[in-house]
Symmetry: C2
Subunit: 442 residues, 2 copies
Amino acid sequence: MNTSEFRRRGKEMVDYVADYMEGIEGRQVYPDVEPGYLRPLIPDSAPQEPDTFEDIINDIEKIIMPGAASPACTELETVMMDWLGKMLELPKAFLTENAGEGGGVIQGSASEATLVALLAARTKAIHRLQAASPELTQAAIMEKLVAYSSDQAHSSVERAGLIGGVKLKAIPSDGNFAMRASALQEALERDRAAGLIPFFVVATLGTTTCCSFDNLLEVGPICNKEDMWLHVDAAYAGSAFICPEFRHLLNGVEFADSFNFNPHKWLLVNFDCSAMWVKKRSDLTGAFRLDPTYLKHSHQDSGLITDYRHWQIPLGRRFRSLKMWFVFRMYGVKGLQAYIRKHVQLSHEFESLVLQDPRFEICAEVTLGLVCFRLKGSNKVNEALLQRINSAKKIHLVPCHLRDKFVLRFAICSRTVESAHVQRAWEHIKELAADVLRAERE
Amino acid sequence: MNTSEFRRRGKEMVDYVADYMEGIEGRQVYPDVEPGYLRPLIPDSAPQEPDTFEDIINDIEKIIMPGAASPACTELETVMMDWLGKMLELPKAFLTENAGEGGGVIQGSASEATLVALLAARTKAIHRLQAASPELTQAAIMEKLVAYSSDQAHSSVERAGLIGGVKLKAIPSDGNFAMRASALQEALERDRAAGLIPFFVVATLGTTTCCSFDNLLEVGPICNKEDMWLHVDAAYAGSAFICPEFRHLLNGVEFADSFNFNPHKWLLVNFDCSAMWVKKRSDLTGAFRLDPTYLKHSHQDSGLITDYRHWQIPLGRRFRSLKMWFVFRMYGVKGLQAYIRKHVQLSHEFESLVLQDPRFEICAEVTLGLVCFRLKGSNKVNEALLQRINSAKKIHLVPCHLRDKFVLRFAICSRTVESAHVQRAWEHIKELAADVLRAERE
């Protein structure tokens, strides 16, 4: 949508809200619909081509308003998570349709998704161990539980371990910054020998530092064999899996118990919207379920409805699936794929500019929209370059450490980015690099 | 703001956003401001009388846009939490201004605030006990930690205990559904004798069931004396404390380590916005702090800035203080007080209607906007009445259990509610009650 259509549609929406407020006394306080009313009213997958804004807004009046905030909020979320799961070709076990045991939920952030998965895994492990040895206390078990992630995993994984009160160990990644079977296996053997109980593994697809990918096809079978919950965190990279040419990066997700990525990062859905799927809904609800009278309802035990409050940390929920519905329909799957492809193409364009300049080096494989690069030379000179770049305030870069190297990260992430921006950024970086190198020689 | 002004202002905002998008290439990617730039630009407390929308929008351009999303998002939040704290006459120890050790943060929900407080208390207790007895493991301590709340506390408190992996015990409330010193003291003595370690108490001001108030003036000193973290949850009732005539309900908050209420419940700020204050910021950051390279910044250790990511479960944050700023200025403190007072007056109006009808009884003291009532008689007849009310869909009531009684809850909570609505609701309830009683006799 260009800004001139945005002006028109935005103002129509303002009137829609005002009309609603003016007519609110004529509306029923509680909807007439029955559980499950929504799914039959909308297609079972996202459109390939864009819908018009007109069509979407008509559906709001026809499909959402009769279901009010509840149950429309819950039911649209369930269906949108199925739409998105199908866009990624997630295994059917993660979807809700066809009355499976899995399903999706919108969390606020990948940190919360990781924590929720860890807590569910913790509860499951405690129940399993207490079933076998009823004399074991929860604390005695928690003392021995140990979780794993790669040494490249996001800090939120370590934080989930802190909050959950369990050990978290970092598995040394390989030369491509990926967690591999051998290193994980080694840790498992060492820890089991020490009397610990491995119960949870976080594999990252697209690490924050350099967009590296843990080897799911190696790690997944180990988790299944050793009865450890496998959570796959693809917070950034996940959006790319809607393109067939990138879908292979998700191979092995069939071994996972839970999977998460953030459409708010790279799929044009505004913050916050973190999409999480589990293979067994009962694993989540078993960890959190409490039902006081003021939260009971007549469909409580019918199995017909989803109580998302048992799937998350907060109790209250916003109607976040609406923005997914709008975005998926306004762009269509093809439009979203084109958006991802353009970003990946621009990052390769930047990569080739870097490679053409012998003063610079690329520090990690460029797979999606992130380019890790640096001046050949000391960390000091690269820190000086970053300082100049960020002080000039024409572009903004966030650095990382890869092993002992200080590395600059060029991330393609704006909705309106074009080749011209990339070219201009590179010219700017080259100029500042020349200044830094000159200052160093002096 | 009436709907006709909403139409005009809403459309101006749409144009503001579109203009921003069209002019974005002319803007700097990173702001020029220094840490602490914002506080001197705005008043140090909320206005008593309403500001005009014009004034507010001019301040957006003048004060917020130069600070972009960061640091404006953080700095406005810190100042708004001080504004709100002063509206409640919170002890100065909870405020950020004057370089104190306390401060406020916006959480998503009271559930998250309770969990964050419990986790901070848990970390503090573990550190304290390990300092005294370095041989104690974390798990050995957690096994003995015990938290308390009243038997009327919200289910999210029990949930926080589950997530945090510690015992939570319910203290029997008194005849007014309040937690008192004697019952708490009894539990403490029993549990200490059994080798447990009391570390955390949640006192509720305005319970979900019947808006009862735990006795803070009794419970607070015990918590301080026994070195237990006191968290005060006033999720619903907290908004009322901006009125001097209700402020006494908050007396005793000076004994608390953390305090929370939800402006999204009753202070006209849209969901979500849960306001939480702590007396010592370092208690929160000590529980959660992790600093990977990609999250470091140049003001990291300056003490000048607030890193809210250490105060909460998620990492990412929305700019929720903007809606507080708009609401506080659009209404002014007097406008917000008038809004609270009107709701309380309407609930007393409903209460007196109930009292005039000998078939009904009031089940708990009416202090704020909630009236707990029922037909004198069996739970069955009240369940039948609720069923008729909610099936008719003219009003909607959520019930509760008070001890063994099934009770209906009439809550004044709409922004546009008037006396006529209350009168009409009561007529409707009386009619349905007559039907239920007739059906029972037949």
